[in-house]
Amino acid sequence: MAERLLEVEGLKVQFATEDGVVRAVDGVDFTLERGEVLGIVGESGSGKSVTALTLLGLTRDKNTRFEGDVRYKGQSLLKLPERKLQEIRGNELAMIFQDPMTSMNPVYRVGDQIVEAITTHEDVSKRNARRRATELLRQVGIPNPDRRVDDYPHQFSGGMRQRAMIAMALANNPDVLIADEPTTALDVTIQAQIIELIDRLKDEFNSAVILITHDLGVVAEVADEILVMYAGRVVENGAKRDIFYDPQHPYTWGLLGSIPRLDRPKPKRLHSIQGSPPSLINPPRGCKFRPRCPQAFEKCQEEPGLENRVEQKGHLDRCWLTVDEKRRLRERTLAGEAQEVA
């Protein structure tokens, strides 16, 4: 069995604000093994980014409260002193962010920013670090890395910047690479390249990857395991195959129905999930998805647990419908709105 790198147990993150307590993450569990790609999927405000930032301790603040546990190789990270955490950050757990346009400091050379990542954690000469930065840029596919290493971020295109960000994140050969919406700000053609790059480098660097996205299409290619989040909670969790071919939660159906697919009859309109995500200060009672769920019934006043309800072990969901009902009802959502209109 592969080495277990991360264990997240009952993680809750709450921010005290003037309007009340925001329950950004409200009970998340997962594990991550070496070589694995975990996709965390959900719309804005579902708590996926906060989960990722919390792994690195970047949500620490006097107004933040944590519950549960995050263990990296058995070591609990939530209560680790800031100094110790700095040694792990960028070294063993590294992160790539959503917008490559703003994620690099505009006044420093790209190479110097990668060098900074290296020298922060390793006692190497500036020259060696620079040589490694150049090599990293080559590995992520930047043409003429010897020359481009001295460029400033604004001289890079969006895709190149995201490649450089990946180079920066991989600089210290981290065990876990967290990619928070790494392709959202990029052209569709570049998106696929970046995802392939992450997938390839994961093997070269022997790391595990947490890929956070709102787009199930992005994780379709590379993820092994998928976590669907809604309003700070996991609503469905399973192997990629199970999520795509046997989705159990109506929210997952909605996400799947909203991506155009070539292997299904062309719908008149793609499915869209009505309404908007609930307030995290005053979440709805019972199932959090209830107000937007076309299938909601009485029982949904009470929140279902995250349980294994299908034959497939390890495929968990949070929905009261019986498996048969789900399999019957989901077809309409998945197929889009062709039938209704026609």
Partner: protein
């Protein structure tokens, strides 16, 4: 680079022409400013005044007068109406005092402005931030002439102590220790306003850039908080401060610290200007204005060059 310099130089000349023209026009338009009467003195006959008016060219059309004045200004022949001293040599005499005041105060206000800004931004919302904020507002609110007089009364004239010398300027070349002690109070008084102002501006700049994505990236790299602050936050927050400093410093070095120089009797360019304004004496006012405008234009060109150095995005490629 050459194109930049040429462009800036042409711009500078145009600005100076415009400024001098405006100053001249204001003088023509403002009533009660007949210089011939002033030069002639109180007991002059009408004939005297007429003679002076003719000799000095005040009976010429204003554009001829303007041309004459500009000619004189750039050939060192500009002469005061009220006491017939040479304007350029008077300005030169005032330079050491004005430069000493400006450079010393500039260093003080820049340094403490940054310290105040950083402290209040880093501790934003806590008591030290509030304290510094209140002090800064008090500093901004105190008029220089009032603060100068109070300080002079209490610390130099015996209100509390006579520890500091009571006004005046001692050249650096004559006695460095005396030069220093004579300038401490003027430096402090002139800096107070700027420290408060710069501190406020820097505080909000820092609080803006601390939420930038690249700062999050820097933290995610595992940098310690001090490096993140100094290298990634402060570097970017200081860029607007450079603009402010360039213009403020140019104004003070160009004789703009009129109040401070006058209150502490420093005999600098600013005090010279104040006296000239008091006696409605156009040539020195024109001289000092051009002198000051030159520094403003010059330093704004320097700032533009510095900007390119600080921010690679605006460098010409």
């Amino acid at each position: 680079m050459l194109a930049f310099l040429v462009r800036r130089f042409v711009g500078m000349v145009l600005v100076l022409i415009a400024v001098s023209f405006i100053v001249f026009l204001i003088f023509i338009v403002v009533p009660g400013g007949d210089p011939a009467q002033r030069i002639a003195g109180r007991t002059a006959t009408q004939q005297n005044i007429e003679n002076i008016r003719h000799d000095w060219g005040f009976d010429q059309p204003f554009y001829v007068q303007y041309k004459d004045m500009m000619q004189k200004a750039f050939t060192n022949k500009l002469v005061s109406y009220s006491n017939q001293t040479e304007v350029v040599s008077q300005i030169k005499q005032g330079l050491p005092a004005t430069f000493s005041l400006a450079i010393g105060a500039g260093i003080i206000w820049l340094f403490f402005g940054i310290v105040v800004g950083v402290i209040s931004a880093v501790t934003a919302g806590r008591w030290s931030d509030r304290l510094v904020t209140v002090l800064a507002l008090i500093g901004i609110s105190m008029p220089v002439f009032w603060l100068g007089l109070i300080v002079r009364y209490y610390l130099a004239e015996g209100g509390l102590t006579t520890f500091f010398p009571d006004g005046g300027y001692v050249p650096l070349t004559q006695d460095p220790a005396q030069w220093f002690s004579h300038l401490i109070l003027p430096w402090a008084v002139l800096s107070v306003l700027f420290i408060g102002f710069y501190g406020r501006v820097l505080r909000s700049n820092i609080l803006d850039s601390i939420n930038e994505d690249y700062v999050r990236t820097a933290r995610a790299k595992g940098l310690n908080p001090r490096t993140v602050l100094l290298k990634h936050v402060l570097r970017n927050s200081l860029i607007p401060i450079v603009t402010l400093f360039g213009l403020d410093f140019a104004a003070v070095i160009g004789g703009g610290a009129i109040l401070t120089e006058t209150v502490f009797d420093l005999h600098g360019v600013g005090q010279y200007a104040a006296n000239a304004i008091g006696s409605f004496d156009l040539p020195p006012i024109m001289g000092v204005t051009l002198f000051g405008a030159f520094f403003i234009v010059f330093f704004s060109a320097v700032i533009d060059a510095l900007y390119a150095l600080l921010d690679p995005r605006i460098r010409p490629t």
